[in-house]
Amino acid sequence: MTVIRVRKDPQRLTLTVEAEFDASVERIWQLWADPRQLERWWGPPTYPATFTKHDLAPGSRIEYHMTGPAGDQPHGYWDVLDVDPPRRIVLRGGCAYADGTLTTEIPISTIRVGIEEIAQGRTRMSIENVFPSTGAMEKILAMGTEEGQRQAVSQADAILAEETIQR
């Protein structure tokens, strides 16, 4: 079973997600290192992702696009800042125009992936997302937003709860 912990830090614009898998470190690493596997989880079924350039090496740029139900194709890229196989990846993601030209003026977010064994055949992956601004957050959400939209936001309590806000 996958256990997920989520930490939200609105002040630092950071969201950390932790998941545990019944799989080896190497298996989890492959989810990121193999573009064909990445394509199977990065985008939702309604916005599948296609990685056109993928080399998980420091200094390289990974390029992908997503294809929406109406044929729309938002493009994105990651600059690979740091890699330590099979446990660490640091990426800086951004948006691109449909013709592939990068909109380099807005780096969208930094993603830090950590993979560690916590028991035999059990691996924890943590993903830290740091956004430069809420505007950037919205932009990334606008890409393939069909997924994960939990609409019912009727109570103000949750955002006011200490866990939601604290460091």
Binding site: A19, N129, S133, T134, I140, E147, Q149
Partner: protein
């Protein structure tokens, strides 16, 4: 084409900064019922009236609260819309990753199954 930005009020960063403080969150919570003015609110905290007034001003600039005239009184009222927008943004991003982790897990289970099947077949031979 640039991906369109949908939810952005201009002072979004202010909303998050305003909510990052314990006292201000408490003020926002109390002001949902819109019964108290700044003076009454100040009575709840072990700090000067001026300090509470400052917190209220930060919240007001972020659009999280407004001061409203009810009869002869001015009460502080929470702007629930602003609050919900902030929460929605973080929730959406969380949902995005939860869905991704579900898909990762499915992929792992599927491929493990595939390997098992191959192994079983080989053993049967």
């Amino acid at each position: 084409m640039v991906v369109s930005v949908t939810i952005a009020p201009p002072d979004f960063d202010r909303v998050f900064a305003a909510l990052a403080d314990h006292t201000r969150r408490d003020i926002v919570r109390r002001a949902i019922s819109a019964e108290e003015g700044v003076v009454e609110l100040a009575g709840h905290y072990p700090m000067s009236f001026a300090a509470v007034q400052k917190h209220v001003a930060v919240l007001e600039r972020a659009g999280l609260i407004t001061k409203q005239r009810i009869g002869r009184r001015r009460v502080v009222r929470t702007n629930l819309d602003a609050l919900l927008v902030a929460r929605r943004l973080l929730e959406k991003y969380e949902g995005l990753w939860r869905a991704r982790i579900d898909r990762m897990n499915r992929l792992i289970v599927e491929t493990a199954g595939a390997v098992d099947t191959v192994e079983t077949k080989e053993r049967k031979r």
